[in-house]
């Protein structure tokens, strides 16, 4: 705990300085729009006023996010390994991947609503779509960048099938897969605000979206801060995991 504070003392200090400046500016600068720049105190009040709603929101959001993100993770990695290893399939379909991956997830909303049976599954699918591409493309990239040495080694040991995948391809491409997964995780949170634009009545994204529709930015900011805390916690856990999985790279030298 003490080491935590020691490591993050400057982090916390910067946060405090930022809040102080924010407080001063919103209080004394008249040219500041009070609607979109509420005072920190207002935000803190909003925070405590809405804490129940925020917490319920996390629970509902997780019900969408977890299936969506993990579904994307699994299919992204499996698909990425497949297309990374199969040159011909990759060559054939890569143009489609390039074409489909940047389509804004918002545009899928009518289709997921029309096709999928419930709002929940529609929302999950949106998260899935958004989270899928980074990890999928990251995995393909990672497989393509595997050092020739490792592949030669595997070939000469006659490694095939699951052993080849699990013991060689997966670890060797892990740096890129995990970097893609981390983008995917961020993406999932981002897509939440889109996926909760319809059919939801609570959620981390819903909260932000809802109050921003009402231009109640003190609530919006409270929501962003609350979400950020959760996202940072998830991300730090993910980074820890990443560091463990990539122990054989230089990352371990990062000393955390």
């Amino acid at each position: 705990m003490l080491t935590f504070f020691k490591r993050y003392n400057l982090t916390i200090l910067i946060g405090i300085i930022f809040i102080v400046i924010w407080a001063l500016v919103t209080k004394y600068a008249t040219w500041i729009n009070p609607v979109i720049f509420p005072q920190p105190l207002t935000v803190i009040e909003s925070f405590s006023a809405k804490i129940g709603e925020l917490v319920t929101g996390v629970v509902s959001s997780m019900k969408l996010l977890i299936p969506g993100f993990f579904g994307a993770l699994v299919t992204g990695i499996v698909g990425g390994l497949f297309f990374g290893l199969n040159k011909r399939s990759r060559e054939i379909l890569m143009p489609y991947f390039h074409a489909l991956s940047p389509i804004p997830p918002t545009l899928f909303i009518p289709y997921v609503i029309a096709i999928l049976p419930t709002f929940q599954t529609a929302s999950m699918s949106l998260i899935f779509i958004g989270a899928f591409w980074p990890v999928f493309l990251g995995t393909i990239h990672g497989v393509l960048l595997i050092e020739k040495h490792y592949l030669d080694n595997a070939k000469s040991l006659g490694l095939k099938g699951p052993t080849f995948l699990l013991k060689v391809v997966l670890p060797a491409s892990a740096p890129h897969i995990l970097s893609g997964a981390s983008t995917s995780l961020g993406m999932s949170f981002l897509i939440l605000t889109i996926a909760e634009m319809f059919g939801a009545s609570s959620g981390m994204g819903f909260f932000i979206q809802y109050y921003s529709d009402f231009s109640q930015y003190h609530y919006v900011l409270a929501g962003i801060i609350f979400n950020s805390i959760i996202i940072v916690a998830v991300m730090i856990a993910f980074e820890k995991l990443k560091k463990r999985l990539l122990f054989w790279t230089n990352l371990k030298a990062d000393g955390k």
Binding site: K155, L157, W248
Partner: protein, 291 residues
């Protein structure tokens, strides 16, 4: 000196039972021309036959194509001109069954020494329980004096240790063909001698065919049945086979090295190589191909 492990695959050499004096051909290299790119030719019409159970050593100046030919034999370098057959099957079609030690002894850095060896072991012993695999892997590592480092990752090993782990892995793979690219290059002289003896013992007892690259003349003569010298030339390297004329069986190492016959052969070998390098330096000036 070192007790050999039981071979994981029992019926490795059915023909060894016949005890026939007429050797079967293990590797057949036919008309191999090779180049990585259009500008430099690496290998020039290489012809080579390796008998089953033979211990073949490649020597030659640095950069002349020894590793390249070895990698081609291992089915790792695609080529179009000529053919290489192992057990009468073209390496282009069937991936050859062989244990390989690469020049850069590349282990998988995300696996411990033991897990690296287990990976090779598992290929022949699909059904063997993990515990037993681990045990055998440890025995192989002990064989190369790495018994204390089974749990170390490649990143935590010294150059020589990595090399020995790679040797253990190749041995444990249990193929009757071993392709080894300067495997003892980073070993101290004492360990090196021990591993040389180990290799001689294994290849003799189990009739494994070995193709071995080294720069150490003594090592080459001590190990080889036949030495193939690579000579770089304008159109890529050509090879020249020299049968080692010395009877080594049962001879004490030290005595052997003091043997006049041995020393004469050693001298002639060195002269041969020296000449080639001078030649190649001369050609280099003329046309840019080189050692």
């Amino acid at each position: 000196m070192v007790q050999l492990l039981e071979r994981p695959v029992p019926q490795q050499n059915p023909i060894s039972a016949e005890d026939s004096t007429e050797y079967k051909t293990k590797i057949k290299v036919q008309h191999i021309d090779f180049s990585y790119d259009a500008t430099t030719k690496i290998l020039n019409n290489i012809q080579l036959e390796v008998k089953e159970g033979e211990f073949l050593v490649f020597m030659g100046p640095s950069g002349c194509g020894k590793s390249t030919l070895l990698r081609m034999m291992a089915g790792l370098e695609p080529f179009s001109n000529g053919n290489i057959e192992i057990n009468d099957k073209s390496v282009k079609e069937t991936h050859p069954d062989c244990g390989v030690v690469f020049q850069d002894y590349s282990l998988f850095p995300w696996l411990t020494a033991q897990a690296n060896v287990m990976l090779a072991l598992k290929q022949r012993n699909k059904k063997m329980p993990k515990k037993e695999l681990a045990h055998i892997a440890e025995q192989y590592l002990t064989l190369v004096h790495l018994g204390h480092a089974v749990k170390k990752y490649p990143g935590q090993m010294s150059g020589g240790m990595k090399q020995r782990a790679a040797i253990a892995r190749a041995l444990s793979y249990g193929s009757d063909l071993l392709l080894m690219d300067e495997p003892f290059g980073a070993l101290d002289p004492v360990t090196r001698i021990q591993l040389q003896d180990l290799l001689v013992q294994i290849s003799a007892e189990q009739k494994r065919t070995v193709v071995f690259v080294t720069h150490d003349v003594d090592e080459a003569i001590y190990l080889a049945d036949r030495i193939v010298i690579f000579a770089p030339g304008k159109n890529g390297a050509v090879t020249k086979s020299i049968q080692v004329p010395i009877e080594k069986k049962g001879t004490d190492r030290k005595k052997l090295f003091e043997n006049m016959e041995f020393r004469a052969f050693r001298e002639s070998l060195l002269n041969e190589m020296n000449e080639q390098i001078v030649n190649s330096l001369r050609t280099e000036i003329a046309d840019g191909a080189g050692i």
